[in-house]
Amino acid sequence: MKTLIQSTILLLNLILFFSSAHAGKSLWIDNELRRIREREIISRQRIRRSLEFDKKLNEIEVDLNKKKHINLLEKKILHIPHVKFRVAVFMYEDPWNTGIGNTLATLMAREILFNTAVYSLGVLTYEGDLKPDKSFNLSYFDKVEKLTKDQEVTISLWGRIKPEKNLLVIDTNIQISEYSLDNYFSWNLKLPEAMGGKSLQAHLRPDRIKLQRFKLNKELKPSLIDAADRLQVLHEKPDNKSKIVAKIPLNRVYTVIKKENGWIHMKIEDGKEGWINSKGHHIDACNPLLESAKFVAGLLKYSASRKLMNATDHLTNEALAVKEQIEALDAIDSETEEEIYKNAIEPILRWIGPERWTGIDKWTKIDRGKRTPPGGAAFANGKALAEIAIKLNKRYKHEHFAMIQRMKQELADMKRRNYRGMLNEYDLNHILEKTRNLKAEMFNKIVLNKNFIIDIANKLAKASLNDPNNIDVLINLSVLYSILNDTERIEIVNMLVKKAIKDTQ
């Protein structure tokens, strides 16, 4: 961890942007939404003006997501520019005024900032309500998406607090942005040219995740507030007894300089420097609560280095499903059929089919449930990809054996021709190039059995009945029907894709 943080000194990339719970330092949700709306109005006006030659001017509903209009969009103002990953942490919804909405956001934001093993990270905190309001016609997940899309956020975390007798029930939700889904949490399986050469696809689902429902004893509220408060001040030295030199100020960007023995050396934009105790918030009772932040840190780390962290017993089965789905989809491009079956299909079968695992998971202690898995048809889609990958692998291996024999023969011939049976650099390059070409040629010649494709397509079509707007499933069906030259079904499925995009926007 030390090496990792030190590397950030050189890159000056690990940036913190946050504000005090008490002074309203962070971004205000309503202000941000107003700004986004103004930007959209300006962009729409520009696009309309550019369409002036088109007589249908007023009939066109301007779609800001259309790529051809991208140059006409009003420029975004990023609150934290020049970072690779951005996380948004929202003040927890606190309808019964327990007074810890900002406390929880501060704890989560610090945990993510201090313990995420990525080299470039920005953390934004938002204050305000996520509940439905008439002026913006958006709420909860939808409102978070609108706000964070504007700031190119990778993952957002938000939640809600509700008192219940002597407990505080704390819900934590996360959502992965569309950009991150496309860039870090998507998988493709390329098909041979003889089968059309298209790719089958999978995206992580669910992308809006109910991550944790944690019940905290009300008596622990003061220590929770105290822990968050201690994360707001900078000490002169890495020592709790040393003088406090600064408080985290309003609307300023902070840079993490280094980390030493659990202390973070931070520099404020105005030049002030000091130390903050990264372990300051680690009171035992709130450790399980921070599992949500650790899970987010794990997803960020995966985005950067494809390494995944475990889901723990303090999280929901949605977290477990996300973790196992990622592992399974990663295993689809394994070398052997056995590996694909063991690492992709077996984890998927824990969630779907007659052998679905139910009840408490023996490793994570998370209740897997017994219903339709989180993410709807995502596991069925992953299984379809894995089954096709196994078949392609088998066929490839069969052809591969013949190719090896041919290449061995060619090598022997070359050795015979050359002086003392030695191979020169030219010959080696020639062999390598030829092997590469032959491998690609061999793969592209593979055609899988038509009945097998029909079987896979039917399984996917049935899965889509339980998750009708799963775009991955519909697009993959379109690819499979194109292999079968089934134009009628291609037409239906393309219409369904358009409808699904419209319905889920």
């Binding site: 309808p95 439905p132 339980n466």
Partner: protein, 329 residues
């Protein structure tokens, strides 16, 4: 065979005019008078009945007025059985015309509705209007799926009006987030409304409330003080006749001062989402219907027989069925 003289020839003979002149002048006069011919005003009649939305009883003495772009076309009063008929003159046009019918009564807020007239005929033969009393009219939903949380009655004089607001707030979060996880378009997500004025006297009246308020689901209840806190009974009824009698659920020993008391049982959540799924089904939004049942399943952890039935009905109507190869056989 002798040819009969045409009328034009007769006119020509009468006025000793050349044939061509008669022909062209007739055409010209036809063209001159055509606009007034096509816009001739004809007399129409609109029949209907005005009733009380909650009791179903007729409302007599209501003023029923028909307007076109703010100009009154005709006026009438509803009789003792609530019936009315307004006669009015309307210029005939080729395009459909939209008129506004306004109903006014001392005990009910002003009500208006659009009436379409096509080729001199109203779209319906007769019109039924149900009015809601002043205090309830604000709770009537105009469009989209909705859940209305009504009054929780008490045998004592204590006031629990806040309870419906608390329950509404909790339900909004609990159910809306489940639906949003499935990316339902915001414009089609249900609205949750606390309406403490909605205070039905019994099961049958509760059904009327759901229909009169035009809400997919109507939730109400009663509170009883017991030795250890309060017993709260919650009823759920829908406007689609999914539940023939209100679904009743019982929470014992609740501390009403504790916000946790606004947490409804997961079966209540499922009942509400099932009704919303039926609403989507009625609107022929079958994929949304399936999604609503999925959201309900995720709350309960399993499918109830009713939920399963609704889901299968919606699944059967999905175009996706045509994708299964061999299904056409």
């Amino acid at each position: 065979m002798k040819k009969q003289k045409s009328n034009l020839t007769k006119i020509h003979n009468l006025f000793c005019l050349p044939n061509k002149f008669v022909f062209y002048s007739t055409i010209a006069s036809f063209l001159f008078f055509f606009p007034s011919i096509c816009c001739i005003a004809s007399q129409l009649l609109i029949h209907g009945k005005v009733t009380d939305g909650l009791t179903g009883l007729p409302i007599s003495g209501a003023t029923v007025e028909l307007n076109k772009k703010g100009n009154s076309l005709g006026k009438a009063f509803s009789d003792i059985e609530g019936y009315f008929s307004v006669s009015f003159d309307l210029e005939m046009t080729q395009e459909p015309q939209v008129l506004t019918l306004i109903i006014e009564h001392d005990k009910y807020p002003k009500f208006s509705s659009n009436i379409q007239v096509v080729s001199g005929k109203t779209a319906q033969k007769s019109y039924m209007f149900s009015l809601l009393p002043f205090d309830l009219a604000i709770c009537r939903m105009n469009k989209g799926p909705s859940v209305t949380i009504g009054h929780f009655r008490s045998p004592v004089t204590e006031d629990y009006s806040e309870l419906s607001y608390r329950i509404s707030d909790t339900l909004t979060y609990d159910l809306l987030t489940r639906l949003q996880q499935l990316h339902l378009n915001p414009s089609l997500q249900p609205i949750f409304l606390a309406c403490d004025e909605a205070n039905p006297r019994g099961a049958i009246q509760a059904k009327n409330y759901a229909k009169a308020l035009n809400t997919d689901v109507f939730v109400f209840g009663n509170v009883k003080k017991v030795a250890e806190g309060y017993d709260v009974r919650t009823f759920v009824i829908d406007k689609y006749d999914l539940f023939l009698i209100p679904l009743s659920l019982y929470n014992k020993g609740i501390d009403l001062d504790d916000p946790g008391s606004s947490q409804l049982d997961s079966k209540t959540h499922v009942a509400i989402l099932t009704s919303i799924a039926v609403g989507y089904e009625q609107e022929e939004k079958f994929s949304y219907c399936v999604d609503a049942t999925t959201a309900a399943e995720s709350i309960l952890g399993e499918l109830t027989p009713l939920l399963d039935k609704v889901r299968n009905r919606c699944k059967d109507k999905l175009i996706h069925n045509k994708l299964i190869i061999g299904s056409e056989k």
